[in-house]
């Protein structure tokens, strides 16, 4: 992991008395894909706007590629691609014309523009409709054009706000594959979303955002350990005496919980993938092993568990007061 491409310190944004982003400390490193997760109104869009200098922070500092977006916005925006949450185009212009305008705004030399636009369109698979009016494009095509639009300036960092919202599963899967490709080229990416399983598929680290605060941060497996106790779930199908098998599983190291799902199925929550130890334990306990599988905890579970805890916490506090 290299240097930080984004670094915020106590970044705060207030609208009147309402605090949209509250003392945010965020670090995104070179070459990393970082996911900002959070419910509606958590402050994700506000954060991305401040990173680009499109909104002035109330207090705190921001560094993007080592620059201050409030004071050096032109240099930041020349090197950072931004894809807004509802990306719009000039409908009466063609895809190529739309991108050419953006290339000109970036001050690219006239001779280079055509080549760059063509390459960006090929990259997202829109070369066939380059000369069609954008007004005729579907939602998925617009989203891909939005990505091409960002790629024209060959950015070092891309900030995407809800890149897969409104896409069907097939299209969002493809979109995520493109993001993965960009990461492999060494481009750092910050994306915000509330579609958790998608974020899990591409992000190295995630930050859980709620009411303007970053409440949890780290790789998905770390979060799982923090919130759920175990990062892995091992499912084992075994025939044999229930209590003996339960006992044997519970005695294994790094196990947090064991549950019997039905007559032959058990679920083991553990820090690591401990399938070999589980297999050995159930056989030693006299069971007939029928099947074994492991699954990393999904972000969905983490998210739900986290916010359930929050609500319970609030309730107990209220009860204590009342």
């Amino acid at each position: 992991m290299g240097d930080a491409v984004i670094e915020t310190r106590d970044l705060t944004k207030r609208y009147g008395t309402f605090t949209a982003v509250n003392k945010l400390n965020l670090v995104v490193r070179q070459g990393e894909v970082f996911g900002l997760l959070g419910p509606n109104g958590a402050g994700k869009t506000t954060t991305t706007l401040m990173l680009l200098g499109l909104t002035e922070p109330t207090s705190g500092s921001v560094r993007v590629l080592g620059l201050d977006p409030a004071r050096q916005p032109l240099r930041v925006k020349a090197r950072v691609g931004y894809m807004p949450d509802q990306v719009g185009f000039y409908d009466e212009m063609t895809a190529r014309e739309n991108l050419t305008y953006i290339a000109r705004l970036n001050g690219l030399p006239g001779g280079e523009i055509d080549g760059r636009v063509t390459r960006a369109l090929e990259r997202v698979g829109l070369e066939g409709v380059a000369n069609k009016r954008v007004g005729t494009f579907s939602r998925g095509m617009r989203q891909r054009l939005g990505l091409a639009d960002v790629l024209v300036k060959q950015p070092e960092l891309i900030i995407m706000d809800e890149p897969t919202s409104g896409l069907d599963p097939e299209a969002s899967h493809e979109f995520l594959k493109m993001i993965q490709g960009l990461k492999e080229e060494g481009i750092s990416i910050l994306l915000s979303s509330h579609l958790l399983y998608q974020v899990q598929a591409v992000c190295d680290r995630v930050g859980l955002f709620n009411q303007g605060r970053m409440v949890l941060e780290g790789p998905v497996t770390d979060l799982a350990r923090k919130v759920l106790g175990g990062a892995y779930r091992v499912h084992v199908d075994v025939e044999g005496e229930k209590s003996a098998i339960m006992e044997a599983l519970k005695r294994l190291p790094r196990v947090h919980a064991v549950r019997a799902m039905d007559t032959t199925r058990y679920e083991v929550e553990a820090d690591d993938d401990i399938r070999p130890e589980v297999a050995k334990a159930v056989i030693e306990a006299g069971g007939r092993l029928l099947g074994l599988g492991a699954q990393a905890q999904s972000l969905d579970d983490i998210y739900t568990a986290y916010f359930k805890k929050e609500v319970e916490h609030d309730r107990s506090q209220l009860a204590a007061v009342g």
Binding site: L54, Q72, G88, Y101
Partner: protein, 337 residues
């Protein structure tokens, strides 16, 4: 306030000022790209096409009928070509009165959705995520409108001269061309005011239809009502009580000053001094001022220009003030719709 807190607040303010000053890079970065794109849009839009056809018809109709009348006086009139613009042959009005009517409409059509249109198409955040300041975007849009307007006006101006040469059979003199050019300039300045006003409305109102209606309401107000209101206000500010000549004079002067708050009045005055060299004064003419003057003798160009200089600068100042207002409002706007 204590000494310490005072010092702190002074320091904070100085830092804030320093931050604004330290903003790096030219505010006009990317403006050229904006101007090119916007002008291409304007020149290919249906909206502009309709208005251009209307102006063209107005120009052809009025000038054609004017040449019909002027053919009889070709040898006598030294300012024949200027009469092409100002002669009215009933039932047609003169070309200039039609122009005074059309120019604000063209300007409004060019600008009413300049800013809110970008928000509605959700292109604003995408454009501002490029290395360009809001300054460059706004001025680029304004200049694109101004250049388009200038292009249309110049084309029509050339057309009228061409028509004049064909129908009248004489070539225009140097002073005629100079006066007509200054008239063209005044027309563009006049358009500039309306462009800036429409730009303000396009920043204030999120709905382009609302912005267009508001701009047209302002146009109606100045075209139809401002004259009456100026009269009423003048009566209130400088009432004529007994009917003394000084009182009547004061009232008339007040009314004149008030009416000059309207761009239409300024344009009409600039236009009259340029196209009618005989005009020697734009205010009330007292007998003492006419002493020694030969009635009906044309004023030299430089003197006509000196006479209407305040009108020219007034129009330019109006544009600048309105643009500054649009700029301040736009700077404060949230990018998010």
């Amino acid at each position: 306030m204590t000494e310490a807190s005072l010092q702190r607040s002074v320091k904070v303010r100085r830092q804030a000022a320093a931050q604004v000053r330290q903003r790096e890079g030219s505010p006009w970065t990317g403006m050229g790209a904006v101007i090119l794109k916007e002008m291409a849009d304007h020149l290919s839009s249906t909206r502009m096409f309709i208005l251009e056809v209307l102006i063209l018809l107005a120009a052809l109709g009025t000038v054609y009928s004017a040449t019909g009348q002027l053919q009889q006086t070709v040898s006598k009139d030294p300012f024949l070509y200027l009469r092409l613009f100002t002669s009215a042959m009933s039932p047609l009005p003169s070309f200039v009165s039609l122009l005074a009517f059309f120019i604000p409409l063209v300007a409004i059509a060019l600008m009413f959705d300049a800013v809110n249109g970008e928000f509605n198409r959700r292109t604003m955040s995408r454009v501002l995520a490029q290395p360009i300041y809001r300054d460059g975007l706004l001025l680029g849009k304004y200049l694109a409108g101004l250049f388009t307007l200038a292009l249309v006006c110049t084309a029509i101006w050339l057309l009228i001269f061409g028509l004049g040469i064909l129908r009248l059979g004489v070539t225009p003199g140097g002073e005629e061309v100079a006066r007509a050019l200054l008239f063209l300039l005044a027309t563009i300045f006049y358009g500039g005011v309306w462009l800036a006003l429409a730009l303000v409305f396009s920043v204030v109102f999120r709905q382009p239809a609302t912005a267009a209606l508001a701009a047209i309401a302002a146009w109606l107000f100045f075209t139809v009502f401002w004259g009456m209101i100026a009269g009423g206000l003048a009566q209130a500010l400088a009432p004529v009580q007994i009917g003394l000549p000084q009182e009547i004079l004061a009232r008339a002067n007040t009314e004149l000053m008030l009416s000059r708050l309207s761009p239409n009045t300024l344009y009409a005055e600039a236009m009259v001094t340029m196209l009618q060299p005989e005009v020697r004064s734009l205010g009330l003419l007292l007998p003492t001022q006419l002493e020694g003057a030969i009635l009906g003798a044309p004023l030299p160009l430089m003197q006509s220009l000196a006479l209407s200089w305040p009108q020219f600068t007034g129009l330019a100042a109006g544009s600048i003030l309105l643009f500054a207002l649009a700029y301040v409002l736009f700077q404060r706007q949230e990018i998010r719709a």
